[in-house]
């Protein structure tokens, strides 16, 4: 469960807030959407939740994830996964190495088993040794999602992850992501400026 409590962000040394304070809850398996035109502070909001907020900003209010207060924690201890517009697969690693990076301290056999398993779910069986540069855009996007989820985050942030894919791929990939989130049973927060990306019946918050 993710709870935002009167969360607001302002420039350090400036009283004005980027947007009016946000309060809402996101249940496990649910995808909530935050919408607004570009420049309204969507990405800054995600940075505050992920723990990568630049020093130029100060966040106030509360972010509670499964009873843990996030704001005071460093990024490494928040257990928050992020999916960006770009897949950000590490170019010097192959598919398996990228996925292995997200796994915890497990034995080699266990790692290989789980990687094979998730690749199969994503219809990428046998892609372990593929070079990142040789994957298609859609394949890269799917590997990127698998990687985020292998780290077993307690919350997934989606920073317009669909916007760089072409239309046909986009719908397919969106369903894949939402299905994965449901299966993991974790809350997810999506920022976007495209209504098509928001799942049906999801709660939508407009930044202003």
């Amino acid at each position: 469960m993710l709870e935002l409590n009167q969360l607001s962000i302002r420039f350090s040394g400036d009283a004005r807030h980027l947007f009016s304070p946000l309060s809402f809850e996101v249940a496990p398996g649910e995808v909530a959407a935050v919408m607004g035109p570009s420049g309204c502070g969507k990405s800054t909001l995600l940075a505050a939740i992920a723990g990568t907020l630049s020093r130029c900003f100060t966040a106030s209010g509360e972010i509670v994830l499964n009873q843990r207060q996030l704001l005071k924690l460093p990024q490494a201890r928040r257990r928050v996964g992020i999916l960006f517009q770009d897949d950000l697969l590490f170019p010097h690693f192959n598919v398996e190495q990228n996925l292995r990076f997200a796994l915890g301290d497990v034995s080699r056999d266990e790692a290989e088993r789980r990687i094979a398993q998730v690749l199969e779910q994503a219809e990428l069986s046998g892609y372990q040794q593929r070079d990142i540069g040789h994957l298609s855009g859609g394949q890269r996007a799917r590997v990127s999602v698998l990687r985020s989820l292998l780290a077993e985050p307690e919350l997934l942030l989606l920073d317009e992850p669909f916007s760089k894919l072409d239309k046909a791929l986009r719908a397919q990939f969106r369903e894949f992501v939402f299905a994965q989130i449901k299966a993991m049973n974790i809350p997810a927060l999506l920022v976007t400026h495209d209504h098509d990306d928001v799942p049906h019946a999801a709660q939508v918050h407009a930044l202003q």
Binding site: T52, K72, F90, H92, R100, F101, A151
Partner: protein
């Protein structure tokens, strides 16, 4: 590397400024005091203007000053103009890749190695005259010419030009890469201008401000270099930097006071040269505007002169290295024979004895100063991410300051300072002195790539494995492996080439390949000199080649291994 644990990184810029500026400022301070008669460690405690009076009364001062400024300005100016000319004809043309590959080794070879090579080539007993004698010249003995170490400093200008041309060409190419070059060329050519015209009228005015720092460094270096000028520069009088260095190392210690005054005089001269260059660069655009907009179209001029210029430079540098190689295997080689009468491997076999100590000291000094510089640079660049970017940028400009101040102007003072701290003649002191000159180049070659790294990779990594430090090594440093390797190679070659810092701060207790090569070049055995110079050139070449072979994948080849480090 989150906001919360990023603040401690502030240690790095603070430490770096300390490492860079303490030697510079205290060095200048302890040069200033002796110039007014105050140098208590040698028993001078009487404030006076004597040193300054003696400096300007000295019969050689004025001529030496003129030589320094003229040879420095002429060589740098010619290097800039010829680099621009070559660029305007060759950049991104068929010849460019070839040209880059051929010039790359010249960047790695120390200045003084090239200078010694030129002496072996152009001296009256050098290879050029040997190949023309006696059939053309009739000489059976080397003539008493001054084809090197000529009183006008022309051979010095040639040596400096030859070494700075590739450097400026490389810096200009990097700057040109940041401009919308193809669009400008397309637009310009569609308006009827030739390719070279577009370069001179549109692109070069944009390039000049971007190579300001390298150009200032080249000017300051060329006007104040000691080792190259000792090898190939004029002798009676020598350039001012060499004269000052002679005063500093004179057996009569009272000359040190005049040396201090001379060093500051050189600093003032170079300061004026740099100011004039800045002024020219600033007004160049305005002055040349009429010419840029005069609307005259030329048909494309031939690329041949540019090609010839490049070929001549490469031929000269290449022959200089070849003649060095021959000497290292020569046994008896009388004038005017083209090749040695008898060959030998003996010089190389003995090298294990006479070159071992300078080789290992060069290597150790280079490795330690490069590692120190790299650590500080990465720390500073990482700090930038967690702080006010604009302010950090302003501070980091100070790192380049030691490149603009003549070495001879503050190394004597630094020696006085380190003597007080009992660091002179010790490893730490010499490594520190090398770092002062290595760090700016490491920073220069690393900063752009490091700042260009997409920090979201780090955010993604930390959100995946929750280990900032491990992610930093496995992701960020690994992805930046190539630029880091190149920065190491650049720093390495800078350290190998250092002459004055090793001598001044080493207090004579350190001998490197460079100090040995310079000492041998004036009348030492040519065979041994050749071996020393080849080793001195090979070391940086080797490191550069290794850097070229580095890829992120190679760094993390034993991949599964790195994960078992996790506990």
């Amino acid at each position: 590397m989150t906001r919360i644990d990023g603040r401690w990184l502030g240690v790095f810029p603070a430490l770096t400024l300390l490492v860079m500026l303490v030697p510079l400022l205290s060095g200048l301070w302890y040069t200033l005091l002796p110039s007014f008669g105050y140098l208590p460690s040698l028993g001078f405690e009487q404030w006076s203007l004597q040193a300054w009076q003696a400096l300007f009364a000295h019969p050689l001062t004025l001529q030496a000053s003129g030589l320094s400024v003229l040879s420095g300005v002429l060589s740098s100016g010619l290097a800039l103009i010829s680099a621009l000319y070559v660029l305007s004809h060759c950049y991104h043309r068929a010849s460019w890749r070839w040209l880059q590959r051929a010039f790359a080794p010249m960047l790695a070879v120390p200045h003084v190695a090239l200078a010694i090579g030129l002496v072996f080539l152009l001296a009256p007993s050098g290879w050029v005259l040997r190949s023309l004698s006696p059939w053309l010249t009739g000489f059976s003995y080397p003539p008493l010419w001054q084809s090197v170490q000529d009183p006008y400093g022309l051979s010095l200008v040639l040596a400096l030009w030859l070494k700075e041309l590739p450097f400026l060409l490389f810096m200009l190419a990097v700057a040109a890469g940041q401009l919308p070059l193809n669009a400008s060329l397309a637009v310009g050519q569609s308006l009827g201008y030739s390719r070279a015209q577009v370069w001179w009228r549109v692109i070069i005015p944009q390039l000049l401000p971007r190579v300001r720092l390298p150009m200032l460094a080249v000017l300051a270096f060329a006007c104040s270099v000691v080792d190259v000028a000792q090898v190939i520069g004029p002798t009676k009088p020598p350039t001012l930097a060499v004269l000052v260095w002679q005063w500093f190392s004179h057996s009569d210690v009272s000359f040190r006071l005049m040396g201090a005054a001379g060093a500051l005089w050189l600093l003032a001269l170079i300061g004026s040269v740099l100011l004039v260059y800045l002024w020219l660069e600033r007004h160049y655009l305005r002055w040349s505007l009429d010419w840029q907009l005069n609307g005259r179209r030329h048909r494309p001029r031939s690329d041949k002169p540019a090609g010839l210029l490049v070929a001549a430079a490469m031929l000269l540098a290449g022959l200089a290295m070849v003649v060095m190689l021959i000497w290292s295997f020569a046994w008896r080689w009388r004038f005017p024979d083209m090749l040695p009468q008898t060959w030998q491997l003996g010089t190389w076999q003995q090298a294990a004895e006479f070159a071992y100590s300078p080789f290992s000291q060069s290597l150790l000094l280079a490795l330690s100063s490069v590692l120190l510089s790299l650590l500080l640079c990465i720390g500073c660049l990482e700090y930038e991410l967690h702080s006010d970017r604009a302010r950090a940028l302003r501070w980091s400009k100070l790192f380049y300051l030691p490149l603009l101040v003549p070495q001879v102007a503050f190394l004597f003072g630094l020696q006085v300072q380190l003597l007080k701290w009992q660091l002179d003649g010790r490893w730490l002191g010499v490594i520190w002195a090398h770092t002062v000159f290595v760090l700016p180049y490491v920073f220069l070659s690393l900063a752009d790539n490091y700042r260009g790294f997409d920090q979201r990779y780090m955010q993604a990594a930390v959100s995946l494995n929750h280990r900032p430090l491990l992610s930093f090594v496995q992701i960020k440093l690994a992805m930046l492996a190539k630029p880091i390797a190149v920065a190491i190679a650049v720093g390495f070659s800078v350290s190998i080439a250092q002459y004055l810092p090793t001598l001044f701060i080493g207090a004579g207790r350190f001998s490197t390949l460079t100090t040995e090569a310079v000492a041998l070049a004036s009348g030492g055995d040519r065979r041994i000199t050749a071996v020393m110079v080849i080793l001195q050139s090979l070391l940086p070449l080797l490191v550069f080649s290794l850097a070229q072979l580095t890829t992120p994948k190679r760094v993390f080849k034993p991949f599964s291994w790195t994960f078992h480090v996790r506990t």
